[in-house]
């Protein structure tokens, strides 16, 4: 007799079980011991050489802290980005591993919810520009300006790089609180598309820098996962390219030169006030701004170090110049919520249409049931038809 389980191939079941074990950070030997089966049996199951029985799948799901439904429903998105990162970087520390896992979970959930709703996220990816032999800095400057033209930005400042990445390019960008050492991650996968995770614990100017850095990897080394970690060696060709690209993308040389001339007109020295205004205009940190001015020979090398030696340029000084002009950091505020706004909205629609049960949705979003209910209440999605207006499509 054919069962529901027979609709999935032994290879597919094995692959999903292997990924779930990996996500649970368990070794085959540990699982075999826990379930009192031979390790070779588990190997055979994971390789699809032996079809797992329902009772075995149930015990494995329990051990992996998941459900049979989450493991084997046919709409589940079964891609794990963490092994990609591990292959690239060798054995990772916990902070990087957790960040990679979080990026996977967010992207998986978003894609499954989109698929359920029939939403097709448009991918408007720019052409790849592999790093060529020669001066990477020159190439990065060129590629950054080319992308600016492609996006229709000209030399205007990038006021919100996250929105640009999401809406103009179709990159999945998530801003969540990560270990302070991890600035951001980038990965590309056929099923999930281009995905980026930025650290909400960093100030928004630094996040913009990170996003531009990861954008450089998207342009130059798209199929290679990337983690921007403060302990990372930034001297490789790829990293030098990414840093130069980020600077050129956020602070394009013609615009910086023009604005510098305007702001410092009549002045004999570069003051803190000048730096604060320029940094605010281009949406970058004060340090990044000064280093870019040094880079473009608009100020002497070592200017930032001089500022740093004499007390730096403080937030208070910036506030004296700008007042409340910068406005609240909405992305950082959003990061404190149980899930992203976009995921919340998709989840609310899926819930409203009855496409996922409360248990399925809570598990997919890694929320507990009451957390999920609070989120849906906040979006005012539960309830009767009397609580919303009809959209015309």
């Amino acid at each position: 007799m054919t069962t529901q389980l027979d609709q999935l191939s032994a290879e597919e079941i094995g692959n999903r079980l292997r990924m779930a074990r990996d996500a649970a950070k368990l070794k085959q030997s540990e699982v075999a011991e826990e379930l009192e089966i031979a390790r070779t049996t588990l190997v055979a199951i994971e390789q699809g050489q032996r079809r797992a029985r329902m009772d075995e799948i149930r015990r494995l799901a329990k051990l992996y802290g998941t459900s049979i439904n989450a493991l084997l429903r046919t709409g589940a998105v079964v891609t794990d980005l963490a092994p990609q990162f591990r292959r690239q970087y060798g054995r990772q520390d916990d902070a990087a591993e957790q960040a990679a896992r979080l990026l996977t979970e967010l992207a998986q959930a978003e894609v499954e919810l989109e698929n359920l709703l029939g939403v097709k996220r448009s991918r408007n990816y720019p052409p790849e520009r592999p790093i060529l032999p020669g001066d990477v800095r020159t190439q990065a400057e060129h590629d950054a300006l080319e992308l600016r033209q492609w996006l229709g930005l000209g030399f205007n400042p990038v006021t919100d790089i996250v929105t640009l990445l999401e809406l103009q390019l179709g990159v999945r960008v998530y801003i969540r609180k990560l270990d302070v050492r991890v600035a951001g991650l980038f990965a590309f996968d056929e099923a999930l598309g281009a995905c980026m995770l930025l650290n909400a614990n960093h100030p928004r100017e630094r996040r913009a820098q990170t996003a531009a850095h990861e954008l450089a990897h998207f342009i130059s080394t798209r199929r290679r996962p990337e983690i921007l970690d403060e302990r990372e060696n930034l001297n490789s060709k790829e990293e030098r390219y990414a840093n130069s690209f980020a600077r050129a993308f956020l602070t394009p040389s013609p615009a910086v030169k023009l604005k510098f001339k305007e702001i410092t007109a009549g002045a004999e020295k570069l003051t803190r006030r000048h730096v604060v205004i320029l940094a605010h205009f281009f949406g970058v940190s004060r340090e990044a701004m000064v280093r870019r001015l040094e880079d473009l020979d608009l100020t002497r090398d070592g200017t930032w170090d001089w500022f740093a030696t004499y007390g730096g340029i403080t937030d208070e000084q910036a506030h004296q110049v700008l007042g409340d002009l910068p406005g609240p950091d909405k992305h950082s505020a959003d990061a404190g919520k149980p899930t992203t706004l976009q995921l919340g909205l998709l989840a609310a629609e899926v819930s409203q249409q009855g496409l996922l049960s409360e248990g399925q949705l809570a598990r997919l979003l890694h929320l507990d049931r009451v957390e999920l209910r609070r989120m849906l209440d906040g979006l005012q999605i539960e309830g009767s038809e009397a609580d919303g207006a009809v959209l015309t499509r």
Binding site: S67, L356, D387
Partner: protein
């Protein structure tokens, strides 16, 4: 009160995680379940789920363990189910399947000719469509059970229902809204975000008039 149709004292009640969370939210789950003449069963998959479902600093698993220890609820395992309803409910397309706890509760209700007490719309819809003979109830049906009403009294029941709505964000079916609002009163109804917005707006108007 006469709302609840759970009048068969011999049919066990199979409670899903959504119901356990709501009952714990009342702050008097033991008194409610103790008042019922029916046997209350919870599936092992539900217990497993509640053990992990604790991010918002609740501990439904601990509360459920005390209900189990007091004999107010008994546990049943998926392995004990003879038919393959569970398998049919968890495997397949995402939109046509349920998570393990919800599926196990329904599968158990089918086999034991019991009442599935589930506060979850998709689970109810799938159960009605595939197993129309299964009796489905909600937490509100349990709260409105004659024995519970009698045991708790109106004010304690109102307070318990209000707690389930405010702490556990209990969902209320449209046909139960009037009963709930009449029980807890307009002043408490406006404080319950899980009640639909138009219901809270109507409660505000009622308060304003008085």
């Amino acid at each position: 009160m006469g709302l609840s149709s759970l009048d068969d004292e011999t049919a066990p009640f199979i409670v899903d995680a959504s119901t356990v969370i709501n009952l714990n939210g009342t702050n008097c789950a033991a008194a409610i379940l103790g008042a019922l003449p029916n046997r209350i069963i919870v599936m092992d998959a539900v217990i497993d789920e509640l053990r992990m479902d604790n991010r918002s600093s609740r501990d439904d698993a601990k509360l459920l363990a005390s209900l189990l220890a007091d004999g107010l609820v008994s546990e049943m395992t998926i392995e004990a189910l003879k038919d393959d309803h569970f398998e049919h409910l968890v495997l397949g397309n995402t939109a046509d399947t349920l998570d393990d706890g919800e599926a196990a509760a329904i599968a158990c209700a089918i086999e034991m000719q019991a009442v599935a007490v589930i506060d979850e719309r998709k689970a109810k819809r799938i159960c009605r469509a595939r197993y129309p003979w299964v009796i489905i109830a909600s937490t509100v049906d349990v709260l409105a059970h004659d024995r519970v009403v009698k045991a708790l009294g109106d004010e304690r029941l109102a307070e318990a229902t209000y707690h389930a709505l405010s702490a556990a964000r209990m969902r209320v079916l449209p046909e139960h809204i009037d009963w709930v609002v009449n029980l807890i009163g307009a002043k408490r109804a406006v404080l319950c975000p899980s009640l639909p917005g138009h219901v809270r707006a109507a409660a505000w108007q009622k308060i304003a008039k008085t």
